[in-house]
Amino acid sequence: MQITVKLYGSLCIGRFHSAVREYPDSSTIQTIVTDLGIPSEYLIRLKNGYHVPLEEVVQNGDTVSLLPMLDGG
């Protein structure tokens, strides 16, 4: 199935800003994060604009956004 993956901030470095990628059925956010070699800690995960856990299953046509989890100062 095809998933649109969007990356933000430093996560883009050496990867991409936005890409449509192929994943097997029943893939989860964790599958994508692992595939991209991104540490799953301190990560904001959105599916179609909504916050979701790493275990969230994705469907064909979904958009997954991954953002670094920062803090203030």
């Binding site: 933000y8 901030g9 430093s10 470095i13 540490p39 800690e41 301190y42 904001i44 959105l46 604009g49 909504y50 916050h51 956004s65 953002l67 670094p68 989890m69 920062l70 803090d71 203030g72 100062g73």
Partner: protein, 611 residues
């Protein structure tokens, strides 16, 4: 600090800290070793200073009885990485209840000043009364203990903060400095004066790489006291790093929390600057007075775009491996690194950028630098200016401040200069007073009289429960963006459990960018290794919670009423459809949230203040 036993919880009086009381009216100083009353006293920072403030009934900030307390945390000057914070506490000229009573405040800063103060042998200085003439105070490590001198400071008047520091550095080569800028000198017109702290990098390079204790007008309090500068002079006394301490410091660097603030080249996310990318994904970057437009105008401030104009270099506080500073340097004609332009942190970047309609990084750096040199709090000044610009957009026929508008760099620059030099009190006294004068308060971005940092109030209802600055004393400013949580239970839980623990770092002397909660074993381990004290994570959390609640109780004692625990009216009256995060902060939600939070807090607040 003298530590006579290992257990500060059951026997806090066996830990004694060195206090110096300076009477600025007479120029005399006394010193004593003070036994701690509780674990908050032991940990230090505002946990200790607020207990002193609570013993005084102060009805106006600018009065001789209002002390300015300088202290440090238990880990300041230790070998724990980031352990270099100093704290300034007083009743604030800026933060004031509707009844007109000043609120207790503290402000924290880095630099090497805190370390040097510790190494003079002092843990706390209380400045009483005020001097009739401008003076500076010198604390040094004499043969028989800490020494104090009060000296004339007329020659420093009118200099920028950086110029004061460099002038003092010529005279005191082995010292560090806390000074005020022109803004603090003009304390009657400027309530948002910052205290400017020197750094090793600044003294070596001669560039304006200061750090700041900005919030709440502590620099204005110094100005009121006619205390222009404080010198902490000592040889470096950093202890030997033991193998266990090396492990602590390794964990400071390696824990995922601090890694977020580390340079991209180090595998981190590049400091707080990177927040702009995250928040823009939700169109939640403040623009035009906290009113995101739903466009991409802020892209000019994204790092890759700024790197086209500047050489961005990651630097650090003294001995810190987190290296969160993003210093922007001009490029010379041959491409080499030129002079420092500014340090890009999220707050000043946004509040002197997109939030006042400026998205050209070259202009933003100039405004940041100007604010820093004049010695004002970037958050208070930026949020007050954005109100002026917003007001003028709504009232083009009767504008404020000569009609300055969003995006007008030259006019805004002039406004900053006039404010910092004491010529524009309507701005210098902050947005609460200004909006009450104009009668238009709904878009004045403050809570309880303290201007909001660059995180939208509609994304953080917990601002109401911050006791000393919206994001530095309530760690919920990114909660919605990070977790997406909008439930009442979620917000009550985060305020009353994790959020309030944000203040713990302003007790112990470490920087918040260590990135772990107060309940993390790393904190307990660091204290144990640095001091020999045995204190558990649970005991630390309990003490931090008590200190926070004491601060909240002190707010109530200074006259804050329930309806002052609120957000700018615009949040409820006119939600911004451009922000793609959930809009959940209705009046009903807010009222229910407050009711439940108070129901938890108020019973615990009983007995925390002296009779």
């Amino acid at each position: 600090m003298r530590i006579l036993s290992q257990n500060p919880v059951t026997d806090p009086s066996t830990v004694l800290y060195r206090r110096c009381v300076v009477d600025l009216e007479t120029g005399t100083a006394t010193q004593e070793d003070v036994p701690c009353k509780n674990l908050e006293d032991v940990l230090g920072g505002f946990g200790r200073s607020y207990q002193i403030l609570a013993e005084r009934k102060i009805s106006e900030a600018y009065c001789p009885e209002n002390p300015l307390i300088l202290n440090i945390g238990i880990l300041t000057g230790s070998t724990v990485m980031t352990g270099l914070r100093s704290y300034f506490s007083s009743y604030s000229p800026l933060k004031q209840s509707r009844k007109g009573l000043p609120s207790a405040m503290w402000s924290a800063g880095s630099g090497n000043f805190g370390n040097k103060l510790k190494w003079t042998g002092l843990d706390e200085v209380i400045f009483e009364n005020r001097s009739a003439t401008p003076v500076y105070a010198v604390f040094s490590d004499g043969e028989n203990g800490p020494q104090v001198e009060i000296k004339p400071a007329v020659h420093l008047l009118g200099l920028t903060g950086h110029e004061k520091i460099m002038a003092l550095h010529k005279e005191y080569a082995d010292a560090h400095f806390a000074v005020i800028g022109p803004a603090g000198e003009n304390f009657n017109s400027v309530y948002m004066g910052a205290i400017i702290l020197s750094t090793d990098n600044q003294l070596k390079s001669g560039e304006g790489k200061s750090r700041f204790a900005g919030r709440g007008g502590m620099g204005s309090m110094m100005g009121y006291k006619n205390l222009i500068a404080i010198v902490a002079q000592s040889s470096d006394k950093m202890g030997k790093i033991t193998p266990d301490m090396r492990d602590v410091n390794r964990d400071v660097i390696k824990n995922g929390g601090s890694a977020r603030f580390q340079p991209v080249s180090q595998g981190g996310h590049g400091g707080t600057w990177a927040n702009i990318d995250v928040l823009q994904a939700f169109h939640a970057v403040p623009e035009n007075n906290f009113r995101p437009k739903g466009d991409e105008d802020v892209a000019g401030l994204f790092r890759p775009n700024v790197e086209k104009d500047f050489d961005v270099h990651s630097e650090a506080c003294f001995r810190c491996g987190i290296r969160c500073h993003n210093n922007l340097y001009h490029r010379n004609a041959d491409g080499s690194r030129g002079a420092l332009a500014a340090k890009f942190d999220f707050e000043p970047l946004i509040l002197f950028g997109s939030n006042i309609g400026i998205n050209d990084s070259r202009q933003v750096t100039e405004l940041i630098h100007l604010c820093d040199y004049l010695g004002m709090d970037a958050i208070s000044l930026g949020s007050t200016i954005s109100y002026v610009l917003d007001y003028n957009a709504r009232h083009p026929d009767q504008p404020l401040c000569d009609g300055v508008a969003f995006g007008q760099f030259d006019q805004i620059r002039e406004l900053i200069v006039r404010t910092g030099r004491g010529k524009l009190s309507e701005v210098g006294r902050g947005v609460k007073r200004l909006s009450e004068q104009t009668g238009e308060t709904s878009y004045a971005m403050h809570v309880k009289g303290l201007e909001l940092p660059a995180y939208l109030p509609e994304t953080n209802p917990a601002y109401a429960f911050a006791i000393a600055g919206g994001h530095m004393s309530m760690g919920t400013h990114m909660y919605l963006a990070k977790e997406g949580k909008t439930g009442l239970d979620d917000w009550v839980e985060v305020i009353t459990r994790q959020g309030l623990l944000q203040v713990g770092y302003d007790m112990i002397g470490l920087c918040k960018f260590v990135g772990v909660g107060m309940g993390h074993e790393l904190i307990s381990r660091a204290i144990g290794e640095a001091t020999g004290l045995k204190v558990s994570s649970e005991e630390i959390v309990t003490a931090v919670r008590r200190a926070y609640l004491r601060g909240l109780a002190l707010e109530l004692r200074q006259g804050y009423e329930d309806d002052e625990y609120t957000l700018p009216g615009q949040v409820f009256e006119n939600p911004n459809p451009n922000v793609t995060l959930p809009a959940f902060v209705t009046r009903e939600f807010f009222a229910r949230m407050k009711q439940r939070v108070w129901a938890i807090f108020k019973p615990e607040m009983e007995g925390l203040l002296p009779e």
